[in-house]
């Protein structure tokens, strides 16, 4: 079984070199020299050593890689890094306030809203975007907002409670 000739397959990976990507990351200007076809997740993890956004599927199916571009949650695994140029990217670590957990992060800790916690990054990023545009969401609002984020441990109800708690305590 051989589907295609080597030239044909490797050709699609020939690189378009982009000299420099400039954007704001967690309030600071950053410049990164990365391959032109690099995803935002790759640049954030590989080059900018951000621990929050995580690789889960690379297919925009699970949400573990979520970050905010301006105030919108995006799947960094399928967003080209170039899409961030000139814009403001916020990662999980960027939500901290003066180095301390923000209201939503505190609520997630208070509700012990994790088992393994691998999905927590995406949950918090998406929920933060929800709270930013709707500070008093209903439980249904929260479940709808998070419906595209997968959790395998069965911690969903705790995460919902944490988001509602953050809204209440804000």
């Amino acid at each position: 079984m051989s589907n295609s000739g080597p030239e044909q397959v490797t050709e699609s990976w020939k690189e378009e070199v982009i000299p420099m990507l400039n954007f704001r990351l967690n309030g600071q200007d950053v410049s990164v020299d990365a391959p032109g076809n690099a995803t935002l997740l790759s640049v954030l993890s590989n080059d900018l050593k951000q621990a929050g956004p995580k690789f889960g599927c690379g297919l925009s199916q699970c949400g573990a890689c979520s970050v905010l571009i301006d105030s919108d949650p995006v799947r960094a695994c399928q967003t080209q890094a170039q899409a961030a140029v000139g814009r403001s990217v916020t990662t999980l670590e960027g939500l901290r306030e003066d180095g301390e957990p923000n209201a939503l992060q505190r609520a997630m800790i208070a509700e012990q809203a994790a088992q393994c916690g691998y999905c927590a990054n995406g949950m918090i990023i998406v929920a933060q975007a929800l709270l930013d545009r709707n500070p008093t969401p209903t439980e249904q609002d929260v479940r709808s907002a998070l419906n595209g984020n997968l959790c395998r441990c069965g911690t969903h109800n705790r995460i919902v409670r944490a988001v509602l708690r953050a809204a209440q305590e804000a």
């Binding site: 051989s2 391959p35 690099a38 590989n46 889960g56 994790a114 393994c116 691998y118 441990c153 109800n157």
Partner: protein
């Protein structure tokens, strides 16, 4: 790399802990020696009796806790830490916990089978009690007072107006001493930490983006690896042109060894691209012959199997058989389905030793398997457990560790990080085995069970590395290949295919036979509960069917045969919390309940659910769920609730949505679209009833709710539509078929 720094700081920060354990006066030594014939030590203390293998009191006021069980997201570190803090009478925050380092921690085997609380916690508890006893003795001598005058608070021992601390007592002293098993535990009435909800130590980092998972770590100078897999398990590599791959962007090295193809590149995405190009351009010899997912039930019933009768209680009374009833149930292959794909980092040092950071559940046995795969001497692979995404059993953590080592071995000095793609994990992980359960019963005139017979058909459930390289995926493709060993079925008390195959009911006659199939059409290994899920789902559906046939209430019918008081309590409390007795029936809704005692000797869990079935499209929705649980003495109520609820929700997902799809050649479930799992909109609210049994053994709750939860859903669907779903998962198509054929 944060992790590496943390470990170094950890070792330095204790002032060189090897030199700051405690010294015992010779009189104490003599007592220790005399006590060697004392009581049997609890849990893993038996294998590692030396107190300093578990706990070290440091002069700086911290306490190191070393354990061989690891954090998988189940809260192990915190729960075991609670037990240590309690018995040492110290503030929980003094603990610095190190878990799963093959060179620093006691080897406690695999973190699996809900064994951490039953085996690790009692060991730590006794070790802490022994150290407390020793320190009290030292304090009494130092203060010149009687031991009975001493009071303890957070490591400070006081008598009258004078006091001395643990940290003073141990300064600059050194001792290695074995546990005696005689030091008394604190009276339960004095517990201040056990039974409390101590916040988990690992959670703040996970919420704030501090690197804690191996997947998040990118040490200085790291290069990235990827493996090119063949199209299917037994494919072999005919030929491949490496030159165009070597010319791809960022590629540093392409490794071919037999049918194994690996890549090292400057970026993870470049490594994946190169591996993908390798997979697609290589010429493979691809065999066919898999049964396919639709053919699997029949395959299990006809494949060559070893029969073993595990139980045969022959009915003594002569009650006349009024009727015989039988049913057959099928559980498809399930994935572990970790949200984060498996990963590892490995680095080969100048001394030829490889260090690997891995989220393996079995660091010692996996390191041993890797050593053999690479032809290295024992001790030449140092495995350090580092958290990964939840695994729920033997996923690809160990394969990732082995693959990172294979690549690191080819490029000494450079740290190599490797994380699988989603398809790489979905297609290649060892699944939970598909199973068939055939049940039959003879009934008396009132519909009571007389003779019960259960036939279990299953492929293996255990192919963990276990020190054998043939269990590491890539090792099978090397030249020469390591042969995969044929797994055995596990016997009592834990069993594997037969886990929970015996009922918890007292039946006049009960026979259980397992048909163990050694052939593995798909790769399989330990998946949360092993055979328990299929067996409990089948048993608890079958008894439900019998209750319905007898016109009896399913709770009352179970209680006719359930004699164990604790289990009766669990079932009754679950039904009460659900509102079973005053349930108001509504159209297209149904209720279901089920109970099991995990492994027939561990935690007892009952689950009740209400479902709604949309008749138009067959969609099943779990509206609400109640769990009731007796896991013995509760150390962390919140941790227990989290495990029980999480297991139930995962089982709802298995029951309603999950089946590994495959054709005659390869696995077709390659992502979350082709292997969907439960989402937020589908997860019901869950109420958890925890029954505390102070003084009873810790039973462990990692897997106890799985089977009852799946069975409760099946029973509720039957209650709603009046017909039985016996073939998982209970997808809209299947439910619609059942409604139409009813």
């Amino acid at each position: 790399m944060n992790l590496m720094i943390d470990r170094r700081t950890f070792l330095k920060g204790t002032g060189g802990f090897l030199a700051v354990s405690f010294l015992l006066p010779s009189a104490v030594f003599a007592q220790q020696a005399a006590a060697n014939a004392g009581p049997e030590l609890p849990g893993d203390l038996r294998n590692h009796p030396q107190l300093s293998s578990w706990l070290r009191i440091n002069a700086d006021g911290t306490v190191n806790l070393f354990i061989g069980k690891v954090e998988l997201g189940q809260g192990a570190l915190t729960a075991v830490g609670q037990v240590a803090a309690e018995e040492l009478v110290i503030d929980f925050n003094r603990l610095v916990i190190l878990a799963g380092d093959t060179e620093l921690c006691p080897d406690e085997g695999t973190t699996a089978g809900s064994q951490t609380m039953p085996n690790c916690a009692p060991a730590v508890q006794q070790a802490a009690a022994e150290i407390r006893a020793i320190l009290r003795k030292l304090a009494a001598e130092k203060l010149g007072v009687g031991e009975d005058t001493l009071t303890l608070a957070d490591g400070t021992i006081t008598s009258g107006g004078q006091s001395v601390t643990y940290w003073d007592l141990v300064a600059d002293l050194q001792l290695e001493v074995d546990a005696t098993g005689t030091a008394p535990l604190l009276p339960i009435a004095e517990h201040k930490v056990i039974g409390q909800n101590i916040p988990r130590v690992d959670i703040p980092a996970k919420m704030t983006g501090e690197a804690i998972f191996v997947q998040e770590m990118n040490p200085e100078g790291v290069l990235y690896g990827a493996i090119a897999r063949p199209p299917t398990y037994k494919a072999t590599l005919n030929d491949v042109d490496l030159a165009p791959i070597e010319a791809m962007p960022g590629v540093r090295q392409v490794i071919r060894n037999g049918s194994f193809l690996g890549v090292i590149a400057e970026r993870q995405d470049q490594a994946w691209a190169a591996a993908d190009a390798l997979e697609r351009t290589a010429n493979w010899n691809v065999p066919t012959g898999l049964p396919g997912h639709d053919g699997m039930e029949e395959w299990l019933l006809t494949a060559e199997a070893e029969e073993k009768e595990w139980k045969n209680t022959v009915r003594a009374d002569g009650t006349a058989v009024a009727e015989t009833y039988e049913a057959q149930y099928y559980r498809p292959y399930h994935m572990h389905g970790s949200i984060g794909t498996s990963a590892a980092i490995a680095q080969k040092g100048e001394d030829g030793k490889i260090t690997v950071w891995t989220h393996s559940q079995s660091v010692w046995a996996t390191a041993a398997a890797i050593e053999k795969m690479l032809g290295l001497a024992e001790g030449m692979v140092h495995a350090i457990h580092t958290e990964g995404s939840g695994c729920y059993g033997h996923n690809m953590a160990d394969d990732a560790a082995a693959d990172a080592c294979l690549l690191a071995n080819a490029m000494p000095g450079t740290p190599i990080k490797l994380q699988y793609t989603r398809a790489g994990e979905h297609k290649w992980e060892p699944y939970g085995s598909a199973m068939v359960n055939k049940l039959s019963a003879t009934l008396d005139a009132e519909g009571n069970i007389l003779d019960w017979e259960h036939h279990i058909y299953s492929t293996p459930h255990g192919s963990r590395p276990g020190g054998n390289p043939g269990n590491l995926l890539s090792a099978r493709y090397l030249d020469p290949p390591f042969e995969q060993p044929t797994p055995n079925d596990g016997g009592p008390p834990n069993f594997s295919a037969t886990r929970n195959g015996l009922t918890n009911y007292e039946l006049p006659g009960e026979r259980v036979v397992t048909h163990f199939i050694r052939e593995m059409p798909l790769r399989v290994s330990s998946t949360r509960g092993l055979g328990a899920y299929a067996n409990v789902v089948a048993i608890e559906q079958f008894i439900d069917e019998l209750a319905v046939k007898a016109g009896a209430d399913p709770v009352e019918y179970r209680l006719r045969f359930l004699k164990d008081e604790r289990m009766r309590d669990v079932l009754t409390r679950c039904a009460e919390a659900f509102g079973w007795d005053n349930y108001e029936r509504q159209p297209n809704r149904g209720r279901g309940i089920a109970i099991a005692r995990y492994k027939n000797y561990a935690a007892m869990t009952a689950v009740a659910v209400e479902v709604q079935v949309t008749r138009r499209n067959g969609l099943v929705r779990v509206l609400r769920a109640v769990t009731a649980n007796d896991g013995g003495h509760i150390v962390s109520p919140d941790g227990m609730a989290n495990q029980v609820e999480g297991g139930a929700i995962q089982a709802f997902s298995w029951a309603l949505k999950e089946e590994v799809k495959f054709d005659n050649t390869q696995v077709l479930s390659t992502d979350w679209a082709s292997y969907p799992i439960l989402t937020f909109g589908e997860v019901p609210p869950v109420e958890n009833v925890l029954i505390d049994r102070p003084g009873e053994p810790y039973l462990g709750n990692g897997e106890s709710s799985q089977g009852p939860a799946g069975a409760a859903v099946a029973n509720a669907i039957a209650d709603a539509i009046g017909t039985r779903m016996r073939h998982g998962p209970y997808t809209p198509d299947r439910v619609l078929d059942a409604i139409r054929n009813a």
